[in-house]
Structure formats: structure tokens, C-alpha cells
Amino acid sequence: MSSILIAVLLLATLAIIFGAILGFAAVRFKVEGNPIVDQIDNLLPQTQCGQCSYPGCKPYAEAIAAGESINKCPPGGESTIIALADLLGVEPEPLDAEHGAEKDVPMVAIIREDECIGCTKCIQACPIDAIMGAAKQMHTVITDECTGCDLCVEPCPVDCIDMVPIETTLQNWHWDKPENSVSTIEKILIKEVH
């Protein structure tokens, strides 16, 4: 009888001790915010374009953490979807066409400066403050910062903003991927068959 009592008491004491340790750890090492949101946010392209219908990448990251689908980001495209699927352990799904298509080449906004009337509307629209200018003064895009989100194009009353592909220079050029080796042979075979 007494041995059972000792065992019960011992286990109870241990439970109390570990409970106290866990409780302390939960308070002491409490993680501020939701770490998964930051991880998702890091994978998103940060164009802040709002094409996912959320006002920026962080809000979309929060929505994904809360169960929103991961295929609503056209600027990120397939690679982002795959990365998100990897992170969250879900199946990758094709890009939701409702939110736009993935662009083949990265774009930047360019203001045709002599047509700009200085209305500041594009400055207010730019989510990352990449447009310089003041009221009634010419505006210009800081090309290095522009994410190509398109948000400035719509508000412009004189339609002087163009989206242009980023120019290839010697600094950012790199070799093309060689054509798939097997497919080269297949091509020849196909030619021979025909």
C-alpha cells in the first residue's frame, strides 16, 4: 500500500516540477508574433502589388497562415507557389488565373517625363515610395527600386507611365540554359520520322 502511495506521490511531484518548468518556459521564451507569417512573407516577392487582393505581401502572408490558398501571387509565379507548398507541406496548385498571369520578363515603370503634369497621384499609389517628385513638379521612377507592380499606371490622368521590360546589360546578362540534350536527339528522330 505504502509503495503505491510513494509512487503516486513521486509521479505527482515530478508532474508539478515539469509543469512548472514548462510553464516558466512558455512565459520566458514566448515567441512574439507568428513566425510562420514571417517565413511566408520572406518567400513572397514583395512587389506589394495587391494582385492577390490583399493590401501588400505581409497581409497575404497572414492570410495564407490563416488558411488562404497559396496560388494568388502572379509576380511570384510558379516558383513562389512551389516554395510555399514546400514550406507549408501542402500540394502546389497552378496559379489562380483570376489574379493575373505571371509575366515572362521583369518589368519596371518609366514615366514619360515631358508629359508628366505633376499630379502626385502615382506617388500616392506606389507601395514602396519608388517615385520621386512633388506637386506640379515632374515625377520620375527610381528604376532600381521599382518592383513593376503596375499600381501607378492606373491613377495617372495623362497616361504617361509605361511598363517596360528590364533591359539586359552586360552586368545582368547570363548564359542561356542549353537546350535539353535528350530533346535535341528527339528532334532529330522526329525529323527523320517525318
Binding site: 501588400g56 514602396i128 527600386e145 547570363h174 540534350s181
Partner: protein
């Protein structure tokens, strides 16, 4: 002299050397071409800034573009003539992209800039001169690495806070066909060695090793002879190394000569070593001792399609076509043309490779210029160097791994590159690949492995740039959000402050009015000799307000009573027992009682207020009424305007506005009457 133990690097290959063809004749001087195309971006780093204009006359050696930023190199006019254009032209680069080029029409005089021809730019006592002056001169003369990559030499020699232990001079020239360095060492050994002395002086290295492959015995002999002439206080050794491709790779040569390995991702100066090409040494000598900028170089022109393979000293900017014409280029006939005995078509594109067969690239046209780093122009026949356009599947033979001089796993890297697994390729140290092409050379399936690696390296760089940009965008976005929030908060604070002041003003007004009333009642009380508590502290109520409240209360009372009647009627109608309590009835009855009380109270208050009202009224001055009148007039004016606007635009709000206008007119009339009455009373 110390004995040097040679080491070896893993892998490497022994391709056919094909060097003898171009070493039969001495270095020839290429005649000055009619037109030179000088790109301003020939080196690693920022392209130089053009400082001449179209139409300017330039002399040989004149600076035509200044270095921009630290990692950049100056560009000089290779001959005297006239700048006819500064425009975008295709560059001799694997990308085939365009870059700014200065086009110079030669005047045929080939006249040096005066400072250079009279020797005033020369530093003869270079071994006694300050390093800064020497490095500045190297920079001014636009010297870049002549071995291939074209890294600005001045930048390489400016090693800060690092002690350089060994200076390695690269004379290995391991790539097949190329003999430019070989011929340079044979014919200009002394110049090269003096250049080495200058570099040794700048780096203050304890050792200097000149590594030359054992397939260049003449060059080794020439260098050793020259060494006897200049050798003395310096510790320069010519070291013969076994021939193996790519022993001329910087890291490989360091491994052979010192046994040390340059850590992954680091440069040789991290382990106290600086490596320079022999061509660079000769260029440094010309720059320092003769004051001549880098405007020409020795280039090998070879291949089976060339009649006289040889080395020529060629001006930078010379079109390749000029070089081909000089050495005799014969367009290869195709098999079909050979069979029917026809001549090769004149317009068919010649296959010309800039650089060697291992690391070079095919030129898109023969109009492209020779650069500071162009050590070879190769025009091979189809048989000699078959174009590789059929690649088969990888058979996992592992030959590439055996051949890799950087101890990488080419096969793994191939899979990763093919499938776009950039992170895995990076983990397998793709960045350490020197793109020597040994793996592609040994591959039995002829897979263009190096091209995969080059692509993947670029893709990794792109991805990193994108990541950096996205991080920056994130910061900017968050900063903007913070700014917007702050602005909104500031606005809100301002609004609240305004509201608070308005409230205070209102309260002050009320208090003043109450005081005035208090005074009057007190006066009145004094006058009447009556100390009524009620009157002593009258509330600052005005009559109209009370009247309104009374009306509202009466209306409410009426409503409640109606409701009770309704409920009773409904109960009677439904035929329920009369005794049964009607729902909610008690609530309404209570409400009725409450309202009755309120009506009574209000009536009382009105009565009291009326009592004191005449006194208050007396205090109303003519000014007050006039003020009110004016305000009313203004308001009326505004309303009229609005009505007009509404009429104009046919707004729906027109009837409402009209009504408001009528009301305001009424009020104005009332005020006018009041004023008239006041005047009458005053009179």
C-alpha cells in the same frame, strides 16, 4: 636559390596542344587598320566614361575614356586619327550584347601623344618610386589582366592590410592553340621580367615564382637568360611545371607552385598570394618605364582555316576581319560544295572563336574588335573542331568528376542545373567552378556541361539579386506604412486638439453666460429682497430649448398613450380573458408616468425661465441682433448659390435645398422684424 617542390592538382586533361603552328614565325606587327572600334567596357567593373566627342582628333595613347569608380580602367586611343562616332555596337562577348564604342578613323600617321613620345611620362627609377605613384600610373594606363578575365591590375595590386608573401607570375598558358604568352616570353623576356620586378616591388613579396609549362622550352630558356641579367637582390625563380590543362588557372597554378589552396569564395590575397599574367607584367613595364598606355597586345591567330598561323602585335580595337585578312583566312567549303567542286559562298558566316577552344566563344561576326583580353583568334576547320550540337543523355560514367580540377562533382551539378535546383547546386559549390571546360571535353555524351554551369551561376546571381531587391522593397513598404500610420495619427491628434479647444471655448462661453445670468438673478434677488434658492442658482437654459423639449416630451407622452390604447384594443380583439395581463402594458404605463413627470417638470422650468426671461432679453444689444442678421444673410447667400448650382446640374437635392432656402428667408425676415422692434423699443 631555394628549391621548389612542385605539387599537383586533382583532375585535369591533356588535350592536343596544337601550339606549334603559331610559333614558327616571330611576332609580326599588324598594320594599322583604317578604322578602330574601341569599346569602353573591356574589363571587369564599370565601363569607362567617354571624354572625347565625335569629330575630335586624337593622338596615339591619348585617354579617350576615364575610369568610372574604383573597379574600372581607362581606355586610350590606339592610334592617331579622328573620332567619327561614339555609339552602341556589338561587343566581342558571349552575350552578343551591345556596348558603347568609340569609333576612330585612323589618319595613317600613328602619331604618339607628345608626353609619351618625348618620354616625360616615363618613370626610369621605378624601383625607388612610391607604390602609390606606380599604382596610379598603372591605373592611368588602363592596364587590365591580359590572361582572360580582364580585371583592372591597379585594383588587384592595391591590397590593403594584407601581407603578400608570394607573387606568382602565370606563364603556364595551358589552353591549346594559344601561344601569345609563349612568344612574348621568348621575344620580350627582359621587358616581362622588369615588369615582374615592378610588381614585386609594389607587393613587397618575399618570393616570386614564374610558372611556365614544360611544353615551352624556348620561353623557359629565354626567361632564365633574362633572369641572369636582372637578377640580383630579388628572389625571382622560373619554375617549370608539367603540362596539364588547366594548370594556368589561377587557383590551380597556386596549388602547383605552393601547395596551398585558395579557400572557396576567397581571392588568393587571402592566403598572401597575388597572381599576375606575364602579358600583364610586360604591359606594366611599358606603362611605368616607357609611360605607354595599354593600346596593343600580342594575339595568336591560328586554326586550320588560317594560311599563316602566327602571333601578331595588334592594336586594341582592330576588327577581327583585319587580322584574318592579314593572316590569310580561307572560308571552308561545305561537304556539298566540295563534292560538286564549287567555291565556298562568300557570304556564308565564318566560324571564328575568340579565345581558345576550351574557354573561348564563337563570334557572331568578323567586324568585332580585339580587346585587351583577347589572347587568341581561332578559325578552326569543321574537322579540326567539330561543332557540338548533338548531346546525348548522361551515362553516369563519372569521367567529368575525374577531370574536374576544382574537385567538384560535375555530374551532380549537371542534374541540379538541368532541373533548376539552384540551392542544391550552390551547396555543391558551383561557385568554385572555373569554367575550364575539362568536364565537357571528356564527356562521352558531349553534354555542354560548362554551359549548364554558366547558366546556373547566372541564375543564382539573378535569384540573389531578386532576393535583395525584395528585401529592400519590404523595408521600403514597411517604412511607407509606418509613415502613413504616423501621418494619420498626427492628423487625428490635431483633430482632437481642435475639438478640445472648441469644447473649451464653448464651456467658457457657457460659463460666462451663466455668470451673467447669475449676476442678474442676484441683482434681481437683491432688488426684490427675496432669497429664493431656485432663483439664486438658475440653470443657463434658454426658453426655446425648453419649449422644444416640452413639445418632444408631450409628443412622446401622446405616443405612449396611443400605444397603450392600441395594445388594449388588440387584447380585447383577440378575445383573451380580460383578467389576463397584457404583455408590455406595464412597461408602457411606466413610460407614460415618466413622461408625464417630465412634462410637468419642463412646464415648471419654462415658467421659471419666463419669469427671468424679460431681464435677459433686456440685455440683448442691438449689435448682437445685427450680427445675427449679417450671419443669416451670409448663410442665405450661400444657400442661394447652392440652389443655383443644383439647378444647373440638375441634382436630386434641389427640392430639399429650396425648402432650406425658404426657411432661411423666413428666419431672416424674423430677425429683421426683431431688429425693428428693438429699435422701436429703444426709441
Amino acid at each position: 636559390m631555394q628549391t621548389i617542390t612542385l605539387h599537383s592538382f586533382d583532375g585535369g586533361i591533356h588535350p592536343l596542344e596544337n601550339k606549334h603552328q603559331s610559333t614558327q614565325t616571330a611576332i609580326a606587327q599588324l598594320p594599322v587598320p583604317a578604322q578602330l572600334i574601341v569599346p569602353v567596357g573591356q574589363h571587369i567593373g564599370a565601363p569607362a566614361d567617354v571624354i572625347v566627342n565625335v569629330g575630335d582628333s586624337v593622338l596615339k595613347g591619348q585617354t579617350i575614356a576615364d575610369p568610372k569608380g574604383v573597379v574600372s580602367a581607362a581606355i586610350h586611343a590606339p592610334t592617331s586619327g579622328k573620332v567619327v562616332a561614339i555609339e552602341q555596337r556589338e561587343l566581342p562577348h558571349s552575350s552578343g550584347l551591345e556596348g558603347t564604342c568609340v569609333i576612330i578613323d585612323s589618319d595613317g600617321h600613328d602619331q604618339w601623344l607628345e608626353e609619351i613620345s618625348n618620354g616625360s611620362q616615363a618613370i626610369s627609377d621605378y624601383l625607388e618610386t612610391d607604390n602609390e605613384i606606380l599604382i596610379q600610373r598603372i591605373r592611368d594606363c588602363g592596364i587590365t589582366g591580359m590572361g582572360g578575365a580582364g580585371f583592372p591590375t591597379a585594383v588587384k595590386m592595391t591590397v590593403q592590410n594584407l601581407t603578400i608573401d608570394t607573387l606568382i607570375i602565370n606563364g603556364a598558358e595551358c589552353e591549346p592553340y594559344i601561344t601569345a604568352d609563349d612568344m612574348l616570353m621568348r621575344e620580350r623576356a627582359l621587358e616581362t621580367l622588369r615588369g615582374v620586378q615592378i610588381l614585386l616591388k609594389i607587393t613587397a613579396a618575399k618570393n616570386c615564382l614564374i610558372g611556365i609549362e614544360d611544353n615551352k622550352p624556348e620561353a623557359i630558356k629565354a626567361m632564365e637568360d633574362a633572369l641572369h641579367e636582372v637578377h640580383g637582390e630579388h628572389h625571382i625563380s622560373v619554375v617549370t611545371i608539367p603540362t596539364k590543362y588547366p594548370s594556368g588557372g589561377e587557383k590551380q597554378l597556386i596549388k602547383i607552385l605552393t601547395g596551398k589552396e585558395v579557400p572557396s569564395g576567397a581571392i588568393p590575397s587571402a592566403i598572401g598570394i597575388v597572381c599576375q599574367n606575364v602579358g600583364t607584367c610586360a604591359a606594366v613595364y611599358h606603362a611605368i618605364a616607357e609611360g605607354k598606355p595599354l593600346i596593343s597586345r600580342i594575339t595568336t591567330i591560328t586554326g586550320e582555316s588560317i594560311n599563316q598561323p602566327q602571333n601578331v602585335e595588334v592594336l586594341i580595337g582592330t576588327p577581327v576581319k583585319h587580322l584574318l585578312d592579314f593572316a590569310g583566312f580561307k572560308q571552308e567549303k561545305s561537304l556539298f560544295q566540295k563534292l560538286i567542286g564549287r567555291k565556298a559562298k562568300a557570304d556564308s558566316k565564318p566560324r571564328i572563336i575568340m579565345g581558345g577552344p576550351m574557354m573561348g566563344f564563337t563570334l557572331n561576326s568578323d567586324e568585332l574588335p580585339i580587346l585587351k583580353s583577347s589572347n587568341c583568334v581561332l578559325a578552326p576547320s569543321q574537322k579540326e573542331l567539330p561543332a557540338n550540337d548533338i548531346a546525348s543523355a548522361c551515362i553516369r560514367c563519372g569521367l567529368c568528376t575525374e577531370a574536374c580540377p576544382a574537385e567538384l562533382l560535375p555530374q551532380q551539378l549537371y542534374w541540379f542545373s538541368k532541373n533548376g535546383e539552384l540551392d542544391k547546386a550552390e551547396q555543391h559549390n558551383l561557385a568554385d567552378c572555373i569554367e575550364c571546360g575539362a568536364c565537357s571535353y571528356v564527356c562521352p555524351s558531349q553534354i555542354p556541361l560548362v554551359q549548364y554551369y554558366r547558366h546556373t551561376k547566372g541564375a543564382i546571381k539573378d535569384e540573389r539579386a531578386a532576393q535583395q531587391k525584395s528585401d529592400r522593397s519590404k523595408i521600403r513598404f514597411e517604412a511607407r506604412q509606418a509613415r502613413l500610420d504616423r501621418e494619420a495619427a498626427e492628423k487625428e491628434a490635431k483633430r482632437q486638439a481642435r475639438a478640445a479647444t472648441a469644447e473649451k471655448a464653448q464651456a467658457a462661453k457657457k460659463a460666462a453666460a451663466a455668470e451673467a445670468l447669475n449676476k442678474q438673478t442676484a441683482e434681481e434677488a437683491d432688488g426684490n429682497g427675496n432669497t429664493n434658492d431656485e432663483i439664486k442658482k438658475p440653470e443657463p437654459v434658454d426658453l426655446e430649448k425648453l419649449q422644444k423639449q416640452l413639445d418632444a416630451a408631450q409628443a412622446g407622452l401622446k405616443k405612449s398613450m396611443d400605444k397603450i390604447a392600441e395594445l388594449k384594443a388588440a387584447a380585447a380583439e383577440s378575445g383573451a380573458e380580460a383578467d389576463a395581463p397584457i404583455e408590455n402594458l406595464d412597461v408602457f404605463e411606466k413610460a407614460v408616468a415618466n413622461r408625464r413627470d417630465k412634462v410637468k417638470l419642463l412646464a415648471l422650468q419654462i415658467a421659471e425661465a419666463k419669469k427671468s426671461a424679460p431681464l435677459v432679453k433686456k440685455e440683448v444689444s442691438r449689435d448682437d441682433i445685427e450680427k445675427k442678421l449679417r450671419a443669416q444673410k451670409d448663410r442665405l447667400e450661400k444657400t442661394k448659390e447652392r440652389v443655383d448650382l443644383a439647378k444647373e446640374q440638375g441634382l436630386d437635392s434641389l427640392p430639399a435645398l429650396q425648402k432650406g432656402l425658404d426657411k432661411q428667408m423666413q428666419k431672416l425676415k424674423e430677425l429683421e422684424e426683431e431688429l425693428a422692434q428693438f429699435d422701436k423699443a429703444g426709441a
